[in-house]
């Protein structure tokens, strides 16, 4: 049986600007075992990156604040650690591939130096050795002529190359938990395949756990054991990956799965969308956050907030009607 590495319970991270805070993450709960991969998918703006940044304790304060919850990592509550203790964990036991490579890369240092610095810091090597390892890492993520490229600055790299440089940096400290926020978004499919295989290899060797934030459902299908679907700061569905694709039980998940362009279709059809916009996080509705856009919403959905609960074995959803969806499986959606 695998051991639990991370448990996030009722995490709430708000951004205060003005009287009403934006409830970016508003009660997120999930757990992750050693050596497993959890996918986080969901609407853009639903709090995926903020969840990741909260685990890293990198929420800018002000305006952001983790207002409640627990993040238990290897038995320690990260939210109670001192900043110094947290710094030792960050980039050592937990490392993160940021959605925006420019936040992680310093424009005034060469790519090679930046990776070497991380290695030097965490693996107690001389700077010369670290420089060599940095070049090795760049090769591993598919940067050609890595020796030359290591001497270049971030602006001299293409978008995808920057992302790969950051992946090299995150992998070089051999973390127990790797949080990858859209790691392959800027990459073409051939490089993506290469990077994902590299991450899987690292996972096998070191029993690393991975949180994979992505909107590419192909990547989810290929890499994740479990998936959490987020909507407006909440986790609305959680299950193993096969179940999520075969038997999703939340109307938002249905909409998400139906929106993807179909590669096999011969005719060009208009893409299906979920009508409307997500709610204002400063002024969330009383009931279900999805009610206004949900084609199945009933009276109760506007009045009462559905709680995340287990509908079948290890399959959780937050919808008043999930039980009904379960019994009429295949007829709705």
């Amino acid at each position: 049986m695998s051991n639990e590495l991370l448990r996030v319970t009722d995490l709430r991270t708000y951004f205060a600007a003005g009287p009403d805070p934006a409830k970016a993450v508003d009660g997120v709960t999930f757990s992750l075992n050693e050596g497993e991969t959890l996918g986080i998918v969901g609407e853009s703006g639903s709090g995926k990156s903020v969840t990741a940044m909260s685990i890293m304790r990198l929420i800018p304060n002000p305006p952001g604040k983790i207002v409640s919850g627990e993040i238990i990592f290897s038995g320690k509550n990260l939210l109670q650690l001192s900043e110094a203790a947290m710094r030792r964990i960050r980039g050592n036991e937990i490392s993160m591939i940021f959605q925006d490579p420019m936040t992680a890369l310093n424009p005034s240092f060469t790519i090679g130096n930046q990776i070497a610095e991380v290695i030097e810091l965490h693996q107690k090597m001389t700077s010369k050795e670290a420089g060599k390892v940095a070049v090795e890492m760049l090769k591993m993520v598919g940067i050609p002529e890595a020796e030359e490229r290591a001497k270049q600055y971030p602006h001299q790299f293409s978008g995808g190359m920057r992302q790969r440089a950051m992946i090299a940096m995150a992998l070089s400290c051999k973390p127990k938990l790797l949080i990858a926020d859209e790691p392959t978004t800027a990459l073409d499919v051939t490089v993506q395949a290469q990077i994902l295989n590299l991450m899987k290899k690292l996972q096998k060797e070191l029993n690393t756990s991975i949180i994979m934030i992505t909107h590419d459902l192909g990547v989810v299908a290929e890499t994740c054991d479990y998936v959490a679907v987020m909507y407006a700061g909440r986790c609305v569905e959680y299950s193993d990956t096969v179940t999520l694709f075969d038997n999703p039980l939340h109307p938002y998940t249905w909409g998400l799965l139906a929106s993807q362009p179909n590669l096999d279709s011969k005719e060009k059809q208009k893409l299906k969308t979920i009508k409307g916009n997500p709610p204002d996080l400063r002024n969330l509705p009383l009931g279900c956050n999805f009610a206004e856009r949900c084609p199945h919403a009933q009276h109760i959905c506007f009045e009462k907030e559905p709680q995340l609960s287990e509908i079948e074995n290890n399959h959780l959803t937050a919808c008043h009607f999930s039980k009904e969806w379960l019994s009429s499986r295949g007829e709705v959606s």
Partner: protein, 322 residues
């Protein structure tokens, strides 16, 4: 098909690579774009795909004259952009807009969304401030934001929301051609679908032309009329979307189509990864740039550079095999 609106001839962009800090000396050139020719018809969506670093964004930025080409011409609406004066280019700039790959870097963090979207209108002196106010509100609604978002700053938005702001700004001047550099890569699929539908509607309504740079092949197949595949600064294949996806000719295109992740967790398998290292544009392989990774490479592939040949129906490919 409409008339040609954009014609690129033998376009080149070489970036010098320097070594040493004090006595910096040139040690080579990154041939980011190395002889690209293509024409885009009015009202179509022309896709540009290819490996990361193959020169797609550089091509886009050359068209906008954000970079000076090393060689070649860019004829837009009958005029060679590479020969325009600054003032003439300033006028033309209204007709060509770009939506950027990186929604983080492309928005000024110290400006409100309203100021960002209004900026092109202000620069080009369009409308009174009241008219601009109305226009911005309208644009925000078009891209699925509300006026409630207008007074906030970019850092308050998620990646996807920022990309919508960038699209609103690009639409402000009602351009003829929009270079979309990975416009939906940062968006989740449901919003991606909204934006794609939106781009398609806008295209119909204003007979817009799109140069659509993307690595998401399912999106490209959905939205593009014709597609060019680039590899290391050169076009290796160009065809109507259906021909490209159903009958790819170039081995690189075949590899690309073969590495699309499958959205079915039951078929969980390692994807076939292209053999060999990605070669460097600093020192590209001789002959066919792809020969170092090509399953079918023969002697001639190492020595001679294949040219684009027409295989009928406007389907071009550069490969010695066929």
């Amino acid at each position: 098909m409409g008339p040609v609106i954009l014609e690129i001839e033998n376009l080149k962009k070489y970036f010098p690579v320097n070594k040493g800090i004090i006595f910096s000396k040139n040690v080579g050139m990154v041939k980011a774009v190395d002889g690209v020719s293509l024409s885009v018809f009015k009202g179509e969506t022309f896709g540009l795909v290819g490996e990361s670093g193959c020169g797609k964004s550089t091509t886009g930025r050359l068209i906008l004259q954000l970079l000076k080409p090393t060689g070649g011409s860019i004829i837009f609406d009958g005029q060679d952009l590479t020969k325009l004066s600054r003032e003439e280019m300033r006028q033309k700039r209204m007709e060509i807009q770009m939506i950027f790959q990186d929604p983080f870097a492309s928005l000024n963090p110290r400006r409100t969304v309203r100021e960002i979207v209004a900026e092109p209108l202000v620069i080009h002196n369009i409308g009174t401030s009241q008219e601009r106010y109305k226009k911005v509100t309208e644009l925000l609604e078009i891209v699925g934001l509300t006026s409630a978002h207008a007074e906030r700053y970019p850092h308050e938005f998620s990646g996807g929301q920022r990309q919508r702001i960038g699209i609103a700004r690009a639409l402000a001047l009602q351009p003829k051609l929009i270079v979309c550099d990975e416009p939906v890569s940062a968006l989740d699929v449901s919003i991606q679908a909204q934006i794609i539908n939106l781009l398609e509607e806008l295209q119909q309504e204003f007979s817009l032309t799109f140069l659509f740079i993307s690595h998401d092949l399912s999106v490209v197949k959905h939205i593009c009329d014709r597609v060019a595949v680039m590899y290391l600064g050169r076009i290796v294949e160009l065809a109507k979307y259906a021909d490209l996806f159903d009958n790819p000719i170039h081995p690189y295109t075949k590899a690309l189509l073969g590495s699309i992740p499958i959205r079915n967790p039951r078929l969980k398998k390692e994807r076939e990864v292209l053999e060999g290292d990605v070669p460097s544009p600093l020192n590209p392989p001789s002959g066919c740039h792809f020969h170092t990774r090509c399953k079918y490479a023969q002697g001639i592939c190492k020595t001679d550079s294949p040219v684009l040949k027409d295989y009928g129906n406007g389907h071009l490919a550069a490969c010695h095999l066929y």
